[in-house]
Each structure stands twice: as C-alpha cells, then as structure tokens.
C-alpha cells in the first residue's frame, strides 16, 4: 500500500510541477507589462522600472519561476491588481461557498444516481431502464447555465418556492439551506446522470459474474445478493467516476454561481477576468489545479482501499 501511495504521490507532484510551469508561462504570454498594468497608464517610466525590479521582472525567466514556486509554497500568491488584497486571502474568503455547493451536489448526485442506476440494472430493457438511460442522457446534455435558468424560472420565479436571490452570506440556517437547494440540484443533475449511468453498467457487469450466479444457485435471497455481492463490487468504478467528474463539477460551479448569484470561486474568476486581474487569475488557476490533483489523488487512494487488487498492479 505504501508503495502504491508513493507512486501516486510522485505522479501528482510531476503533474503539479508541469501545471505550475504552464500557469507561469501563460501569465507571461499576456500582452502588456504587469508593472505597467499595476501602475496604470499615467505612471512614469522610472516608477515602472522600480516596480519591475521589486517584482523581480528584470530577472531571468527561470529565476522568476523559482520565485513564483517559492512564493506559492510560502502562501504568497501575489496581490490583486484590483482590490490590492493578497490573492490567497480573497480566494480563501469565498472558497467555502464553492466547496459547500460542490459537496452538496455531489451528495445529491449520489443519492439520486446510485438508486436509479441499480434499479435500471435490475430491470434491464424494461421501462425504468429506458427511462433512466434517456433521463441521464438528457441530464448530461444540459449546459449548467441552461438548467440553472430553467430551475430559477420555474421554482424561483413562477412557483416562488425558493428564493431568487441567494442569501448564502448571513441569514438564518434555514435561509441558507433554502438558497442552497436550487444551485445544488442544478449542479447535481449532471453528477446524478453520470453516476446513474456508471452504476447501471457496473451493476450489469457484476450481475453477470460467476460468483453472483453461484450465490443465486445456492438460493441466497435476492436482496442479499444485490447488497452483499453485487453492490459492493459495482460501487468501485462508481467511486472513480465521482472523482473524475469532480473537476467538471468545479467547472460547472462557475456557471451555477453566476446564474444563482452566489458568492464563490466562479464569481471571483469572472470578476477578475473582467477587471483583467491577472495575479488573481493565476492564483485561481493554481487553486483549481491543486483541487483537481488532490481529488484525483484521494480517488486513487480510496480506490486502493476499496479494491485490494489495485495496489498490486
């Protein structure tokens, strides 16, 4: 197990390093001098030069990259061009909202997707199977902002069941829960669709295995076969899928946050894009990469725990 963890960890480190290099290079491709951008059009040449020196922009690129990495490791992610606040602070301030939304929709996806997947697999080629397959295909087809607008229109505006304006910040616990509901469903639709499809096909594969047939031949009760023999094995690939799609989930949270006007990383990213706040964008890219790599690593580890065969590969 230790060896498995070490290998996975070293892969993650290589990927992380490569992405950092990519982020660093991308930030250097941006047209315009960062010092000029920070000081504005009116700045004198000497002021720009001194800021360039202070930022280390007169150093060779590999030294700048080294500085960039050291800064990241020490928690110095740069300063926002717009708010003049440290980038890391601004990110950490809104990160909980995005994580809260992501976790809730992951839960929604699992709670809806797994039972439907099992149900469909147990009734292969019957109505519920077709319905689940078409329904999940439809779920995969919704751009997150389209489903968001439809949910907002129907349940927020026409029916009035949920608040149109988010009260994610402040408000009572119930208010917060109520305003989390629609965004969660919106982001969870895609997840539920993926999970249902994966559970179904994984369940079908397991139900055809010899040991399930043997259990059936021995006369083990149907619900016991499903719970003890089939589901336990079928759930392994589902876990990997959940891990793989957390990245997509984080991407879609951007659109969900815009539609439902929730604070979070997504709103921050769009805001800093409009203000051409490059240090902030760079920091957000680092954050996304860290999140995705961490989730992938966690998935690999959980996979190793769930399925003892994996670590010997």
């Amino acid at each position: 197990m230790l060896r498995y963890v070490t290998i996975k960890l070293s892969y993650a480190m290589v990927t992380l390093f490569a992405v950092m290099l990519l982020v660093f290079m991308l930030a250097r491709v941006i047209p315009g001098d960062p010092a000029q951008l920070m000081l504005g059009d009116q700045a004198s040449q000497s002021a720009i030069d001194s800021l360039r020196e202070r930022l280390g922009l007169d150093q060779p690129l590999y030294l700048q990259f080294l500085d960039f990495l050291t800064g990241l490791a020490q928690g110095d992610w740069g300063t926002s061009l717009y708010t003049r606040e440290p980038v890391l602070n601004s990110i950490l301030e809104v990160l909980p909202y995005t994580l809260e939304l992501t976790a809730a929709s992951l839960l929604f996806g699992a709670v809806v997707g797994i039972p439907f997947g099992i149900w469909a697999a147990l009734h292969r080629n019957r109505f519920i199977d077709y319905a689940t397959r078409i329904g999940s295909l439809l779920g995969l087809s919704f751009p997150a902002f389209v489903s968001g607008i439809m949910l907002l229109l129907v349940f927020g505006i026409w029916l009035g069941w949920f608040p149109v304006l988010s009260t994610a910040r402040g408000g009572s616990f119930e208010d917060r829960l109520l305003s989390l509901a629609l965004p969660t469903v919106n982001l969870g639709i895609l997840m539920a669709a993926y999970i249902a499809r994966m559970t179904r096909s994984s369940m079908l594969a397991v139900l055809g295995e010899d040991y399930v047939q043997t259990a059936r031949a021995k006369g083990v009760a149907r619900h016991l076969i499903i719970r003890r023999h089939a589901l336990r094995n079928a759930i392994i690939p589902v876990v990997t899928v959940i891990g793989l799609y957390v990245g997509i989930l984080i991407g879609n949270s951007v659109l969900t946050e815009i539609v439902f006007n929730r604070p979070g990383i997504g709103k921050l990213i769009v805001g800093s894009m409009n203000q051409r706040d490059y240090p902030m964008l760079q920091g957000l890219m680092v954050l996304y990469t860290l999140l995705v790599i961490l989730v992938n690593l966690a998935t690999d580890l959980v996979y190793g725990l769930l399925d003892p065969r994996v670590k010997y590969q």
Partner: protein, 270 residues
C-alpha cells in the same frame, strides 16, 4: 435501442445543420437588424419567438447562431481528433519515452476542468473565433489521445501488425493503414460525444461573456442577454436555451447509440 437512438440523434442533428446552412432562406428577419419600436415583444405571428431588448427577431438569431455553435464545435473537435489521435497512436505504438511524454501531457491537460482551461485561454488570447476553436480543441485533445492510445497498445502485439513489420512496412504505413482503421470507430464515437461537449463549452463561454463578439448572434450570448430580462421577458432566454439543449441532446443520443453499436459490451456506459 442503440440504433433507434443514434438514428433520432442523427436526424435531429442533420436538421439543425440544414437549418443553419439555409439560415438566409428560413430566417424571417435580418438577425442583426435592430428595431427599437418592437423591443421585448412576446412570440407572435410576426416574430415567432419574440424580439430581444433592441427589437431583433429571436427566431432568426437562433438560426444564425446555430452556425457559430456548429462551426466552432465541428472545427475544434475535428482538430482535436486529428492531433489527439495522432498523439495516442504514436504513444501506443512506440511506447517508452514517447508514451511517457504523451501520457504526462494528457494528464496535465486533464488536470484542468475543460471549462476553466477554455476560459483562461480565451480570457488571455481574446474572444475571437480562432481563439475559441484553439481553446476548445486544446481541452479536447487529451480525450482523443487517451482513446487512441489504449487500443493501439494491444494492437501492437497482434499478429497482423507483427506481420506488417516482418514484411518491412514502415512504421508510418502500419500506423496509418493498419492501426488507424481498427481504432477509428471508437475515435468517431468519441467525436460525436465531444462535439456535444464542445458546443456546450462554447455556449458556456459565450454566456460568461467570452463568446464571438456581438453583433454576431451566438446562443450563449443570446441567453446572457436574455437573462437580464428574465423576470419580464423570459422567452429571450428560453428559446436559445431550448436550441442548445436539443442540439446537445441529439449529439449525445447519436454518440451513445453509436457506442452501443460499436461496442455492445459497453451498453449505456459513461
């Protein structure tokens, strides 16, 4: 079910392609012609899907908007398919250092959510059609590399490939004439599924404000504008939303059905 699905998906997709190609014939109005006297009107006999905030005809704009979605989607996925498949086949065929390099590159690209990567690239390069195509293609390349690599790895060991080698065929010839035709069905299935994703990503970028610049109508951009009037004129956002949903759903049906046909073992997996 696979065949019916792909048939329905294909028909709807072709209908949309025809509608986009013949937009000048089917459109009832000029898609960029503003008419402030008729702004924010609901659906009527004159304007089938209503008018937007500056009086442009929504129905005609949706027809023309389909062109942008389809061009960006098809070109970017086509590009990604060529580059990604080439990368995957090379990696799988040669193995060793090349394989490691390709796998590492795909892992790095896959570490980004495609929407975020696309967003960053377009934000930096600027929202023009070529840049959008590059951004979406770049996020899709690793998917094709992955799909092409795995079967190439196992094909490499097969007798007919070994025989080709023994006959002194060049590597290029073996890859092009013998490996590629064998993996092509899978690559094509991926193509239709990722076309759906590419169109979704393009619309999402346009919704965020990173689409092809106005006045060119794009579905995502129309929804973005419509969202501002969601309380009093919901049709502004509803009709283009339905258009995207129908196109993406059709492509997913097509890809899903094709996959069942290509590989019955995977029935309904994703």
């Amino acid at each position: 079910m696979g065949n019916t699905n792909s048939l329905i998906g294909m028909s709807v997709f072709l209908l949309i392609v025809i509608a986009a190609l013949l937009a000048p014939i089917f459109a009832t109005h000029d898609p960029v012609q503003q008419n402030i006297l008729f702004r924010l009107q609901g659906p009527s006999a004159e304007h089938w899907m209503g008018t937007d905030a500056v009086g442009r005809d929504i129905y005609s704009r949706i027809l023309y908007g389909a062109r942008i979605s389809l061009i960006i989607g098809l070109v970017s996925v086509g590009l990604a398919m060529i580059v990604g498949t080439a990368m995957g086949v090379l990696a799988g065929y040669y193995g060793g250092k090349i394989d490691q390099l390709v796998t590492q590159i795909t892992d790095v690209l896959l570490a980004f959510p495609s929407l975020i990567l696309g967003l960053m690239i377009v934000a930096i390069l600027g929202p023009t059609m070529p840049n959008l195509i590059i951004a979406i293609a770049l996020t899709t390349v690793p998917q094709f590399a992955r799909v092409a690599r795995a079967p190439t790895l196992s094909l490499r060991e097969r007798d007919f490939i070994q025989a080709g080698r023994a006959l002194g065929y060049s590597d290029l010839r073996i890859m092009y004439r013998h490996v590629l035709p064998n993996i092509f069905p899978e690559v094509l299935v991926m193509g239709s599924l990722w076309l759906a994703t590419a169109i979704r990503v393009e619309a999402s970028l346009a919704f965020i404000g990173l689409g092809v610049r106005p006045p060119t109508p794009t579905w995502g951009g129309m929804i973005r504008d419509g969202f501002k009037n969601i309380l009093d004129s919901p049709w502004l956002a509803i009709f283009p939303s339905l258009a995207i949903l129908i196109l993406v759903f059709a492509l997913n049906m097509l890809g899903d059905g094709l996959r069942d046909t290509v590989d019955p073992r995977l029935k309904g997996e994703k």
